[in-house]
Symmetry: C2
Subunit: 574 residues, 2 copies
């Protein structure tokens, strides 16, 4: 794709996944890190540099071999990078040394963000850390507050929660010799993270807002999109985009933020590189964070007219695989369960197993977050259901001969509606659509109706067909309790010719629609359900197109017959 060589400072798992993405594009990479580091294992160039991304001489050795320099870690030697800009004027360094310098000192990072009008937690630098100065912070911010190392802090290392005045001596002991700052406690409801790609022209592209869950200060899982209202997702995305617009250079950035109990969003910190909270993008986005980074630093195109990297249906959970605390390689049991689970991919980094070490991650995708969560709980050994059989197996009636994972629910107020409603089932059989069928009465089983309606979407149903007669309340009541589309079939009763049912079903108030079909015409209800599913499932769409053609042919055949034998013989033959 490109004949330039990309040098990478650091060869851990992030470097490894950058190399994988680069190799797919046939872009040559060379790594600076220890021998046999994860990134070097999958790159046989033989031209790697053995050493450290913090050592000026090693960095210079790497620079001599490449056209573009990038990082998988921000704790690199910035003065050397700045010097290289003069020594090798043609060498591109992305993220730019200025950006790395702004970010690697977390207090400088905060000052930069504040200067650019970006919301961050209130902080003060601590020039001279003594019991006195830390008590003064306590007096200003209240307890608890965070004491943080300005540099070289990650996965909880370099951070200390000062719970009260009494814990100050311990804080000083743990963080002595480090440059420090204090941060006001942010009472957050959730931690969010947004990956942003910045192109060299300053244009930014964002990934979906994700939600990270930490355990023992290490990222445990990441949910994308975050399980917060859309408006919060959008605000998080804008906050992240604005933050990254303020940094020079290009590449991928991870923006971590707090979503406070009061609804506020504050940036916690920024990483100028691929980030653990973006690993899900390999399976759930248009372009992975790693490929996006390679393309950005090489100034290769990113998709045009396109401002988000989400697919139209991104639902993903990333689970970090940490070295088992008791048995070496014990974590591989989770991976084995993952292999048994559809829609689940395992990524291992080629490291030796050590307790709590990040050994790899698992990406789970599904058609809903609930489905992903079910698979997660199977991977974690909390349930025996790996998502290949659905919750419907447990909650819904099982119909012999049809799939265990219904897409359509056919319900009716009474078994007297079954002769009419069974025509819908015939059509669903004919189109091979998995469905379930049962009785749910609005007036006689109101609680069953509520439960059915509330659980329908989570169980994986896509459409509900409800038939009812007389004062037909079922379709409208179900529609009031589910966000799914509900199709109403007016069933003709013994009086009023079904007009009572029709009007009861169709004349819903503004706010709660019911898709009403003709009186007694449950055939059309099923065909409508299939059209709805087909609008995002091309196989059913094709089947519907074929069905329409077949109907047309049947009529044309009859027309031909009338034209050939004459209308009278036609009538006689009927």
């Amino acid at each position: 794709m490109d004949f330039r060589t990309v040098g990478i400072l650091g060869g851990g798992q992030l470097g490894r996944m950058i190399v994988e993405a680069a190799s797919r594009l046939n872009v040559k990479t060379v790594i600076l890190d220890a021998a046999n580091s994860p990134a070097k294992q999958i790159n046989a160039t033989g031209d790697h540099v053995e050493g450290s991304f913090a050592n000026p001489e090693d960095i210079e050795k790497l620079a001599a071999k490449c056209d573009v320099l990038t990082v998988e870690i921000e704790h690199v030697d910035v003065p050397t990078l700045k010097k290289l800009q003069t020594t090798y004027p043609d060498l591109k360094i992305y993220p730019s040394p200025e950006t790395i310098a702004l970010i690697q000192d977390k207090f400088t990072q905060k000052e930069h963000l504040i200067k650019n009008g970006i919301a961050v937690a209130e902080s003060i630098a601590i020039e001279n850390a003594t019991e006195q100065s830390l008590a003064a912070v306590g007096a200003k911010f209240g307890y608890p507050y965070m004491l943080k190392s300005r540099t070289l802090a990650y996965d909880g290392r370099g951070n200390f929660v000062v719970k009260s005045k009494d814990s100050i001596p311990q804080a000083l002991q743990e963080l002595h010799n480090r440059p420090l700052y204090a941060e006001k406690w942010a009472p957050f409801a959730k931690e969010l993270a947004v990956m942003i790609v910045r192109a060299v022209d300053g244009k930014v592209f964002s990934y979906p807002t994700a939600e990270t869950i930490h355990q023992d200060n290490i990222c445990h899982t990441c949910f994308a999109p975050a399980r917060v209202p859309d408006s919060v997702q959008l605000r998080a995305k804008l906050l992240a985009e604005n933050a990254i617009k303020s940094f020079p250079g290009c590449g991928i950035f991870g923006v971590e933020m707090f979503y406070l109990d009061n609804g506020e969003l504050l940036i916690n910190e920024i990483a100028p590189r691929p980030h653990n909270s973006g690993h899900y993008t390999i399976n759930a986005c248009v372009t992975s964070q790693f490929e996006a980074h390679v393309r950005a630093v090489l100034e290769l195109p990113l998709p045009r007219n396109f401002s988000t990297m989400a697919t139209y249906d991104t639902n993903a959970i990333m689970l970090n695989i940490l070295g088992d605390k008791e048995t070496k390689d014990g974590e591989l049991q989770i991976c084995e369960r993952a292999l048994r689970t559809p829609g689940t991919s395992v990524y291992l980094y080629g490291k030796e197993s050590r307790p709590k070490r990040k050994m790899g991650h698992i990406n789970i995708v599904g058609s809903s977050m609930t489905e992903c969560e079910r698979k997660l709980s199977y991977l974690l050994g909390e349930s025996k259901d790996n998502g290949s059989s659905s919750a419907a197996d447990r909650l819904a009636p099982v119909i012999p001969g049809i799939s265990q994972k219904p897409l359509v629910g056919v319900i009716m107020g009474s078994d007297s509606d079954l002769p009419v409603m069974s025509q819908a089932c015939n059509i669903l059989n004919q189109f091979d659509v998995p469905y379930e069928v049962t009785i749910v009465s609005a007036h006689r089983t109101p609680h069953r109706m509520s439960r059915y309606s509330i659980e329908a979407a989570d169980r994986g149903l896509k459409v509900i067909i409800a038939g009812a007669g007389g004062a037909a309340h079922l379709p409208g009541m179900v529609a009031a309790m589910t966000p799914l589309p509900v199709i109403g079939v007016p069933v003709k009763g013994s009086t009023l010719d079904g007009v009572d049912s029709l009007h009861s079903i169709v004349q819903m108030p503004r706010g709660i629609p019911v898709a009403t079909v003709a009186i007694n015409n449950s055939t059309n209800a099923a065909l409508l359900a299939i059209r709805m599913i087909g609008s995002s499932n091309s196989s059913y769409l094709r089947k519907m197109q074929e069905f329409l053609l077949k109907q047309e042919e049947e009529v044309l055949e009859k027309a031909g017959k009338i034209e050939t034998i004459g209308y009278q013989s036609y009538l006689d033959q009927k």
Copy 2:
């Protein structure tokens, strides 16, 4: 994932992609092939064997280094593999040497398939190729017929079309010294291919039936699923599964077949390894063919209760990138266009560019085959539309301020319906759903209506909302010409209170449903459209859930007010 080493005979692009999949699972691989072959480039083990997969000594060297032996090509030395089974009784060889032997001689392969009741083209072995014996074949099969080398034939090499008796001397010249067989001409409509994974217990898992297009005897593109009726896809899948069940051992198999003009399916040939027609699986399936192969030969789990590797919406096109015939590396122009196109991934194999050489491939995915085909034609330089702007830009009215790619079409029979129908637009705006709005009259613009209906699905619309009054024909007529769901809004006219419109819209005949809402209630039509889209788009589903909650809160607030201030004051304040 596993501590065994997998040795691969052959290090071309198939080996490279096997290695990539193995590395993700941290499975060690060693390659037998020339130095710096594509697979070796991404594997720094240092333990590779330099040599040929046809050379017994080299194969033995590789076997000494590994626990499992597999192939990326079937033209390997089988007697050596059989010998290794005795020398190294613990070494697993998959696909089994017996299977490779059966397959690498195409005539033996055919005989094996026939013995197992699998449909193949009629063939005869040619023991002694002379003008006379070939003329005898012509007399038996008619002309043209295929003369094929039994071994070492691929990408058209080793095949000759005997067009008439006169071309026999040329055939003999081109294929002399090869073991030959003749095949009756198969007048095929399409070439199909199905990838099958066979687990060690004999269970098979199939990928979607794909359609391959060849140019100059080399695979050009592959469409998955194949653009044939579902029944043909299913028959192809069953034929492929039955064929693979007949071979011992495990691993992935590519099954190529002809779909004849008369509807018959005949197996053309089988490859006991990943196959060019399965490259699309990297982006469009639950597990790629390469990972499936690694897992099968290591006897690692494949997903349980699960018989297909398709996702619920697999739509993909694979385009091979062949070395440009005129300019070295000229093929990279196609790759650059691919980078500009959302949903398109580039895979380059690390080979030096030579005319017509397979340099890489591009996978295109989309929510419909039409969308993929549009992107393909952009990649091939045939169009300027890369799918990021939709065909809707050219065909449909552009609404200022809303997206260029509408999901909902709002149409009405007359501008007098606009006051009613505009409420639907307000709701769509509120939910941020891209839509288009225009006038389409069933009675005054019947041809425009036909065109609108026929093109709607291909333009990317998911739902059509049609409003009409009086003898309201528009919703039903549109529904008759599109497989998409159509929502009908009865618009109240000057007489009959809208009951005329309601009955005209709702009382459709069996076969063509219209989702009817209440008279004049286009608000509900839009809400219903959003529910339909939401059933397969979790973001809209969540929004609908929030909307229902908000409605509930509003009513509860009013209820609270009545309870607090009393009903009379409430009425007075209104």
